[in-house]
């Protein structure tokens, strides 16, 4: 094919930008779509760091060890070859980011500094203060801006992805998107499309995610025939700051730098935490997990906090909260390594965490599940790729801290070139696809919009959303029970019925955020069913998926990838299961209370 391949990237976080850069470098043309200016994408919120086994601390770390920790941390649910690929590539990714000017913290000799994170015994996490995601996103944003100024990347910011354009062979030939200001819907042809639309936090109402993380794009594609894999695996971060509007993340790096989690041993102890003597504090993580202590993986720490609060009834002031204590650490070290997150706590809570232990509680944080992809990031729809949090590939049943940034960039670096190779091999480029294909999808989207614009029922979309969030947080996070899960699915069907009677409180045809949100809400409801039903089916406990009635991991029946697909005629998810590739590391029991 003579012309430069034309690739659409949807989403401008780390994964989307990484893919865009690779495509531009290979001579492709990128159309980059994002709801927000890409520099404001959710990757900006990542705090603690990015993992790579550079072994700069003389600990004998290796990429194999990183691979082992990741697979073990993920409770042997991830296909192992791509995880190994990621861990092997990570050191070079750090070098590249370093060359791009990311202001990583340094050792006195001027080398990269590394700190410890959960689920490993090694100092493997490179970091830029406690705003590592921001710094990484900016570095890639700057490189994309450079390609943009050279005409290789065209940005469509303030545009919302509505659907893939599929031709008669169910091959992806482009997308439909809506201008969030003029509300105009347009179709855009492309030789291949890469989805990099991030997380799904909004399905849980309040989470650590940004407002744009609704999972709407993934849900649309699932409804168009893409497999959605391992949807039931939801990471609840052990340490977030409960808030009115969201749960603000308190990075794992706080514990990586020596932060300790504790509660007063005495129930209802109202003393100032600083005045409680050591002997009257219960450092339960250190007691239960002597080897990893406060740095057990997130699912383990989250369940421990739940147990202390709900079974031992030892939450601070009877509230669902425990202390995360940094006050024993030198102020200057805290400022140099953690300033960004201390500032967040100070600004939003009003206390100085250098002086007072922070009050934290687990909060929904990340989805391990996502669009099913093969090892080249291709979905089951030809021409459609997915990278970053919106796909399922690298983290198994539980993601280790500081592995998300590396998986985003690595996935983009695999998916971008794969899309270019695919585009170059196409017998018929997107330019040769008949207009009818685009027109019919455009018409379908126009009809959805017209119907919604006229909706004048009784249901307020924002209230419906809060109900969805409460329901999912209650039943589909830390502890799962089959009775509750099947009730949840029933309730979701009810919410979908009520959605049919939605009232659009704003009908204007300019920058109508209510309209856009209401459209997303439908997709959130559909995807929520995949999560709830997936959790219901999986009768075992593995990683973040914990059922007290099935407390053990069951490799014989459940060492399988869940693949949901949408049965359009029945308007519900169907499931099939795929064996996991464990060819590199034989599965072994995952126990953080003992040496592994």
């Amino acid at each position: 094919m003579a012309a430069a391949p034309r690739i659409i990237v949807v989403g401008g976080g780390l994964a989307g930008l990484a893919a865009a850069i690779k495509i531009a470098e290979m001579g492709g043309r990128v159309d980059l779509f994002s709801i927000v200016p890409v520099k404001r994408s959710h990757s900006v919120c990542a705090q603690g760091g990015i993992n790579a086994a550079k072994n700069l601390k003389g600990e004998g770390d290796s990429t194999w060890q990183h691979f082992d920790d990741t697979v073990y941390g993920g409770d042997f649910l991830a296909n192992q070859p791509p995880v190994k690929g990621m861990c092997d590539a990570a050191p070079a990714i750090i070098d590249l980011l370093d060359r791009m000017g990311v202001p990583f913290n340094r050792t006195p000799e001027g080398l990269l500094d590394f700190r410890r994170f959960g689920g490993t015994m090694y100092n493997r996490t490179a970091f830029a203060g406690a705003t590592t995601g921001q710094q990484l996103l900016y570095a890639l944003d700057e490189q994309v801006r450079r390609h943009e100024s050279e005409g290789k990347v065209q940005k469509y910011e303030h545009w919302e992805f509505l659907s893939a354009v599929l031709d008669g062979n169910r091959t992806c030939r482009g997308i439909c998107a809506m201008d969030l200001r003029s509300m105009e819907v347009r179709s855009f042809p492309a030789d291949a499309v890469i989805i990099a639309t991030g997380g799904i936090g909004a399905i849980f109402g309040k989470s650590t995610n940004s407002v744009v993380c609704t999972g709407s794009a993934q849900s649309v594609l699932y409804q168009q025939g893409a497999f959605y894999a391992n949807g039931e695996f939801i990471q609840v971060h052990p340490t977030s700051i409960p808030g009115e509007d969201k749960l603000r993340l308190m990075s794992e790096s706080a514990r990586g730098e020596g932060g300790r989690v504790w509660v007063p041993r005495k129930k209802g102890d109202t003393r100032d935490p600083k005045s409680i003597p050591e002997s009257e504090r219960w450092y339960f993580l250190e007691e239960w997990y002597p080897k990893y202590g406060n740095l057990v993986p997130r699912d383990v720490a989250t369940r421990a906090i739940h147990k202390v609060v709900y079974e031992h009834n030892l939450g601070i002031d009877g509230q669902p909260m425990v202390y995360l204590d940094l006050t024993h650490i030198d102020r200057q070290i805290l400022d140099r390594k953690l300033e960004g997150i201390l500032e967040i706590y100070e600004k939003f809570v009003g206390d100085d965490p250098r002086e007072t232990p922070m009050k934290i509680f687990p909060g929904m944080h990340y989805t391990m599940g996502g669009l099913w992809v093969d090892y080249k990031q291709a979905t089951n729809i030809p021409g459609l790729y997915a990278t970053g949090e919106c796909e399922y590939q690298y983290h198994g049943a539980n993601r280790l801290g500081a592995n998300s940034l590396v998986s985003c960039i690595y996935g983009g670096f695999i998916g971008g070139p794969a899309a270019v190779f695919y585009a170059r091999s196409l017998a018929k480029s997107s330019a040769a696809v008949t207009n009818g294909v685009f027109d019919s999808e455009l018409k379908r989207q126009g009809e959805i919009n017209a119907k919604l614009m006229k909706a004048d029922g009784r249901e307020n979309p924002f209230k419906l959303w809060r109900e969805l969030g409460d329901l999912m947080t209650r039943n589909c996070t830390v502890i799962r029970d089959n009775k509750d899960l099947s009730a949840t699915d029933g309730k979701l069907c009810e919410l979908l019925e009520r959605y049919a009677h939605i009232n659009l409180s704003d009908r204007s045809l300019w920058a109508n955020t209510t309209f856009v949100f209401t459209r997303q809400l439908y997709n959130m409801l559909q995807l929520a069913r995949v999560i709830a039903q997936g959790a219901l089916m999986r009768n075992e406990s593995r990683g973040a998926h914990y059922k007290p009635n099935f407390p053990e991991r069951d490799d014989k029946n459940w060492m399988k990838t869940t693949k949901a697909y949408f049965a359009a005629d029945a308007d519900e998810p169907r499931f099939e299961f795929e064996p996991v590739d464990v060819s590199l590391l034989p599965p072994r029991p995952r126990r953080y209370d003992a040496v592994k």
């Binding site: 850069i21 470098e25 927000v36 200016p37 520099k39 404001r40 994408s41 900006v44 919120c45 070079a92 070098d95 590249l96 370093d98 060359r99 791009m100 000017g101 202001p103 990583f104 913290n105 340094r106 050792t107 006195p108 000799e109 001027g110 080398l111 830029a128 705003t131 921001q134 710094q135 900016y138 700057e142 490189q143 801006r145 450079r146 943009e148 100024s149 200001r181 940004s210 407002v211 744009v212 808030g243 009115e244 509007d245 969201k246 603000r248 993340l249 140099r336 960004g340 967040i344 600004k347 939003f348 009003g350 924002f462 409180s505 704003d506 204007s508 300019w510 920058a511 955020t513 209510t514």
Partner: protein, 249 residues
């Protein structure tokens, strides 16, 4: 209505050309509420204080933890971020207005593309050879990192530009944020390859000499970036380059 309430007046504008008008809201007070959470509460119950049904407010917001830079607006006349503006710390009635120096899209949302265009103009990037594996980057001392890191925390919120008396249609002033990025990239061991071009971009109309040293930018910056220091340093470099240029002629 709950015992304790919050009163918020919002300057609303249907579209870029529409006439703005004020609406007043009274919301139940909640512990820890901020301006963004209040706007969410209005969306869930879009009624004005006098009981009139209205539309939810259009505003920009994303991370809600003051790191994405989306939700900048005028709150009681000051340029700041809505997510970190805690209601309990604000005088009531709280007045919310869109930025005055950027085109209004709708209600509190404005178009801030000018900053991103300026970042292109000053080539705010490190010109790497490529993304293939070329080994580690240059060594950087902890002191150099501690200088660069605060500059690199700019969230592109544009508060510094809104607060600047010189940032207006007449001057076309590039603003403090972009100038500070020039300082960041000009001090990077590889980034400084483009130093000459960056400084050249800051000469002439709308360039760095438009700065009137009001220092409002420093005050307005939610990330405490040493913006005036950046302007002073880059200003000196621009001057040096301009004089050098004169002699080379």
């Amino acid at each position: 209505m709950a015992d304790k309430t919050v009163i918020i007046k919002i300057k609303r504008q249907q579209s870029p050309d529409a006439k703005p008008q004020w609406e007043e809201f009274e919301l139940p007070w909640k512990r820890g509420m901020n301006v963004t959470s209040s706007l969410m509460d209005i969306a869930a119950n879009p009624l004005t204080r006098d009981g009139k049904t209205t539309t939810p407010i259009t505003y920009d917001a994303n991370c809600l933890e003051e790191v994405c830079g989306s939700c900048a607006m005028l709150i009681n006349g000051r340029a700041c971020m809505a997510c970190s503006a805690l209601i309990d710390k604000l005088d009531q009635p709280i007045r919310l207005e869109p930025f005055s120096k950027f085109p209004v899209i709708r209600d509190l949302a404005v178009d801030r593309i000018v900053l991103f265009e300026n970042l292109k103009r000053v080539k705010a990037w490190v010109p790497v050879d490529g993304t293939y594996d070329l080994g580690p980057g240059p060594r950087v001392t902890p002191e150099e990192q501690e200088l660069a890191y605060p500059l690199s925390r700019c969230i592109s919120c544009c508060c510094c530009m809104e607060a600047c008396p010189q940032f207006n249609e007449h001057t076309g002033f590039v603003g403090a944020a972009a100038i500070s990025q020039v300082r960041l990239f000009n001090t990077h061991p590889t980034g400084k390859a483009l130093k000459h071009e960056r400084l050249a971009a800051l000469m002439g109309d709308g360039g760095i000499q438009e700065c009137g040293y009001a220092q409002n930018c420093l005050e307005a910056c939610p990330k405490d970036i040493p913006l005036t220091r950046s302007i002073a340093e880059v200003g000196g470099e621009v001057m040096k380059q301009a004089i050098g240029g004169l002699f080379r002629r």
